[in-house]
Subunit: 407 residues, 2 copies
């Protein structure tokens, strides 16, 4: 038997299931017997909670639906395996289960945290001289993985963000009095998603006025001064800000609020959002109408608008992981390499998981303007190809149809 | 000369420009000389700020772009004309300008507040025996206009809300621990938009668990008890709530918060959102992970996902207004009448503006369940046809292309 296992881990994306399909279809094409899907990632392995994917993806229609289904089809987890040292019994148990299911190769679709699972499993496998191959398939809307040119999931999130920002800008222009809109994007430490708002600008859109990334220290007074200048010059001011922006003393901007929204059952203070806080400060200081818009989880699950480039690359990274594993590779993560700028072309390569697991890639300093209030053209040039072309949803009764796990 | 004027007023929608196109194209087809567009509604008339629409919409491509452009192409206003009595000079001025521009008919695209403008202008016109015809074209995502079966703009907002809710529900299911998501929808007094979240439910989606409309009094304790039961039974609980829900003493739910977000320059207290407040209460009481999602202005400007039925009806109401005016009608608003349920068919009729201006239509009580925690099947049946079929954006360089006003 040549069985393989695939799991999905971490926060979902709009194309994480295209990677799942890439693994499934390529494994089947290359002669795999059973392709198991882990329900809720590595936890599904420990719980022996798996499905035979051929019972889920039964025909071409199912494949096309799976590609268009947001969020992790198999479910996800944030579970991290313990260190090998001192926890050998956990690993013995895992490898016992893998043997029981006659597993030939193991694939994990996830971000830098999830790649820690591949690292530990392949390290242990090497230690015990297991023949099982362990491969990582990159995935995250955050685009913060090392080595790879970008991550599958980012392009579709960027496309959704750019399209929505464009619509918000138009909406802000409708009245004849000034409005300051603050859009909050995901990204605790890296500003890739926030940077994507810059793509709204073009022949038919004036674009956002300022962009603040967590890579630079945020200065509230300077921010307010800039807004003060802007709203006198133009009717609608639109600002994009990352949830992760921090002031000089290291506090998140939202931590500057003088109240907490509520204290949860674990005693954690829940803070107002960054956009809400900044919009409040602007309203307080200038008496101008403001609006705070959080794109929230919509930026990772809006599969009704995905980038065809992204969907294709997500599928290809899954397929390449299978190809590499079947050719003997292990302990690696598939990466994307941009081999041509114009026309845009990316190929897949691979990198040692030790260089990717737990590493965060930030926006390079030279792609941000001097005073940290906007991004520069090379960053727009980097993102633009990733949002190209579309995958049309399969509309049923007025809504995009999804594929759901049958258990 | 047979010139006409058209203006857009109130909050924008994704299809308000289809109505503008309906007025423009039908007026031209029926022999109008110049079709003026009022920049920022009735204020544009008083400021003589108008454009000749033939200089803006020059060919078929422009028409197709205009149809796909969200937010009011001409700009909007919230300006209300003063009462005729005691302000005759304002009306004398308006009719002087209309005469100056040789206006034959005046069209105003807007909601119940905006229809007040048509009411006053036609009342004054009748008083002075002006031959000018005044017609209202209905528009609002809120769907709260009297007499008409529904309003253009609502169907596309409902489609966006239902598709997004479906994606949020899938996103909430991804982890293996409970999550309570609260989605906040627009609607101060009428729950039509919030009700549209019910459409997410179907063969591939479990739907939202509770829906709270402003038509019923909100009971915080009962809400918390219900959530307490739900999150023990199922992993992901999703609740839709209107921004306008109020408790028994008449306060908005968001006014129950024990702090204000900020006080603006006019001394108005700005409150935390309803979803945020409720999610906080759930987290505080049960220690469960919660998420508050406000669809905010996205629900009125997301033209990348519009209903073809809605776009067509928006165009038709604009066109019907011109036809009626050119046949001698005045002081009326075009309405939609559902002449067949299955298959769905609507025709246009018209109604005296006095019965529509300043009147709000709420969700009928019999379409809400007994304890006010969900809507009933007849309401779903009412909304479902309005979200059918799609208009594909015109994608340019990865983003939907819009038409912008050239001045």
């Amino acid at each position: 038997m040549k069985n393989v296992i695939v799991g999905q881990s971490g926060g979902p994306t709009a194309v994480i299931n295209s990677s799942l399909l890439g693994v499934y279809k390529t494994a089947k094409d290359r002669g795999a017997d059973i392709v198991y899907g882990l329900v809720h990632g590595i936890k599904g392995l420990l719980d022996r909670d798996m499905v035979d994917l051929s019972t889920q993806v039964k025909n071409d229609l199912d494949m096309d639906l799976l590609k268009r289904t947001p969020s992790s089809f198999l479910g996800s987890c944030r579970y991290k395996l313990p260190d090998i040292k001192g926890n050998e019994s956990t690993y013995e148990e895992i490898f016992k289960i893998l043997k029981e299911y006659e597993i030939y190769a193991f694939f994990y679709i996830g971000g830098n945290d999830s790649m820690d699972t591949i690292k530990k499993l392949s390290d242990y496998g090497e230690k015990i001289k297991s023949p099982i191959r362990f491969m990582g398939v990159p995935k995250t809307i955050d685009n913060d993985l090392a080595i790879t040119d970008h991550t599958p999931g980012y392009g579709s999130a960027a496309k959704y963000i750019a399209a929505t920002t464009k619509e918000i800008i138009r909406d802000g222009l409708v009245y004849d009095y000034p409005v300051v809109s603050v859009i909050e994007l995901m990204g605790r430490n890296a500003g890739w998603l926030t940077a994507a708002t810059a793509l709204a600008a073009g022949e038919d859109c004036e674009g956002v006025d300022m962009i603040f990334l967590p890579e630079r220290i945020f200065d509230l007074d300077k921010f307010l001064d800039k807004v003060g200048e802007l709203y006198k010059q133009k009717r609608s001011v639109v600002i994009a800000v990352s949830e992760g922006v921090k002031v000089a003393d290291g506090r998140y901007v939202c931590e500057l609020a003088d109240h907490v929204d509520y204290v949860d059952a674990f005693g954690h203070k829940q803070l107002a959002g960054t956009a809400r806080f900044l919009a409040g400060k602007v309203a307080e200081k200038y008496g101008v109408k403001t609006r705070a818009i959080e794109l929230s989880s919509l930026q990772r699950c809006a599969a009704h608008i995905t980038s065809r480039i992204d969907v294709t690359e997500a599928f290809n990274t899954g397929g390449s992981a299978v190809k590499a594993a079947f050719e003997g590779m292990s302990g690696q993560v598939i990466t994307l390499k941009r081999v041509s700028e114009d026309p845009y072309m990316c190929i897949t390569e691979s990198a040692d998981v030790h260089f990717i697991a737990n590493v965060e890639k930030k926006v390079p300093d030279e792609w941000i303007n001097k005073d940290g209030t906007n991004i520069l053209e090379p960053l727009v040039h980097y993102i633009r190809p990733l949002i190209q072309s579309e995958i049309t949803p399969l509309w049923v009764d007025g809504l995009p149809r999804h594929l759901i796990l049958q258990k």
